[in-house]
Amino acid sequence: MRSVDSSDVENPGNNLYVTGLSARVTDRDLEKHFSTEGEALLSECERTEPFSQRITSEELHLQLFLRVTQGGADTRRLFDGMSPRKMTKESSCSAGGDRIGVLPDEVLHHVLSFLPAQEAVQTCLLARRWLHLWKSTTGLRIGEGENYPGSVKDHQEFLDRLLLLHDGAPLDTCVLRFDEYDDEGDTARVNLWFQACSSPQVCQDLIYSVERLSVTGSKFSVTLRIHIDVPSIVSLRLDHFYLRTPVLEGMPSLVDALVRILNCTEDFCFQSDSGDCGRVGCESCYGIKDNNCVLLEGLSQAKTLVLINEYRSFIFKRDLKWCPTFTKLKTLLLNEYWCVPDDFSALACILEHALVLENLILHLYSEGPKHAMKIKGNCHPMDRSAAISGHLEKVEIRCEAVDKRVLKVLKHLSTFNI
């Protein structure tokens, strides 16, 4: 991204990096400021790519790359000219005083983004400095980590108002947890919130986006299938949900995703394990006939995937019929659902479609992160089967004990020459 040609670096010491600027500081402001420094000339100014492609609020600052063309400008002197709000001087007020208030706005917005939304808004009462800070928070957390997060209705007024008053700064984290999810009205409302969280409002320069979306412990609608359509998602966690599995729409920038089906979902049919019993009026198979993949299609761009199914939901098996090609998938973690002896078709199918898979981890019949057994296997590039990725290097099986079922899985894997 940074386009510095090699001739630029021959004069070390003339490069000055300025960071930690408010997003509201424009190029013009900077030019004006630095022009007073005489020799300093703003010759190149670009937004550098944020760390590891994940944009969080404070990374959206202009990270300015200034080159001082005639050397000699004293870095310290430049910084001293900045307003105290932008550059907190060390130890100037170490003994007491309101030091948190002197922190840059962006840092405080970031702090607020880690608070439950309600408490973030309530900081407006602390002091004048805090009155409007919450309106630019970069996160939205409702019901996170709570046993009884409340129903959609409980949060309705709060969320409506918050999203209305929020100034449209990018939200990088959005956690919405509800313990009751009633009717179609709720579905519409939650969809509306998702949209409000992820579509541009008033800002022109900033990309208004949700980067990390975590939907945990939600009860989705019984009758309507929710669509999660937030193309900007980089990291997705869809965990522990009830009733109907939501449909994931395309997420081109997705990097990692976890989907865990733990509970009793409505996507269960006695007649069929892939949602196509064909009975008229089968409630479970209802509503998914026309839209092909429910989950996998949306996940097809991920580099890291964790797919766990601990209940007899047919969604994954059904999706495999339209299995997309995973062109970027490098690491894949699956549980025993994918390789129930003696039916390895699901495992085989997903391996076939993961073209560049490097690591395969299988969690077999074990609970929690502690595994009594770990079996690691390597692939020999020469003699592996053509049905799997040519890049596959490591296969790891984590299980409680090596029993018959595990042995069968091992045996099956050996047919791929793993």
Partner: protein, 173 residues
């Protein structure tokens, strides 16, 4: 861009940095690469024997940051579960600091673009705020209430919607 931490093993060069109050520090290049600003300076050949001057970071926080980066760079890729847990413990102990140091770390990590540390410090600050009344928070952070009682009432009224579904902690209004 993530490649920077991957070559932790084969680059043994030490990077020198200088705090605002003139103290010199050294860390492996892989550790320095965890800072966006340092990484760009290294890429542009600005890292020389004299050290990279960090005009707004004092020695005390800089020592902590060097410590953090060194630890995290040594364990960057391919963590086992045990190692990840150990790193988590390190982080938890690392951030057990007083508010003064916390502010220094917030500013410095933000300035230097150390993502992991920024997040850690921000999370710690949020944890300190969480579940407290405004009065308790003012005390913890030395915030002076510059509202008149009338103004305070006004704000409560205006933002009534946010104070309604009261959870146990904040019930000031």
């Amino acid at each position: 861009m993530a490649a920077a931490t991957d070559d932790a093993g084969d680059s043994n060069e030490m990077i020198r940095v200088v705090s605002s109050d003139g103290e010199h520090f050294e860390m492996p290049e892989a550790a320095a690469n965890l800072s966006l600003v340092l990484r760009h300076m290294i890429e542009d050949d600005c890292a020389d024997a004299a050290g990279i001057p960090l005009a707004v970071v004092a020695a005390k926080p800089l020592a902590k940051i060097v410590d953090y980066c060194t630890k995290h760079a040594a364990k960057s890729s391919g963590l086992t579960i045990e190692e990840a847990e150990e790193l988590k413990r390190f982080d938890a102990e690392f951030i057990e600091v007083d508010t003064d140091m916390l502010y220094d770390l917030l500013v410095a990590a933000d300035f230097m673009g150390v993502e992991g540390l920024s997040k850690l410090a921000v999370q710690r600050t949020a944890d300190l705020i969480k579940g407290k009344t405004p009065e308790q928070n003012r005390e913890t952070f030395g915030i002076v209430n510059d509202f008149t009682p009338e103004e305070e009432e006004e704000i409560c009224k205006e933002n009534e919607w946010a104070f309604q579904i009261t959870k146990p902690p904040s019930r000031l209004c």
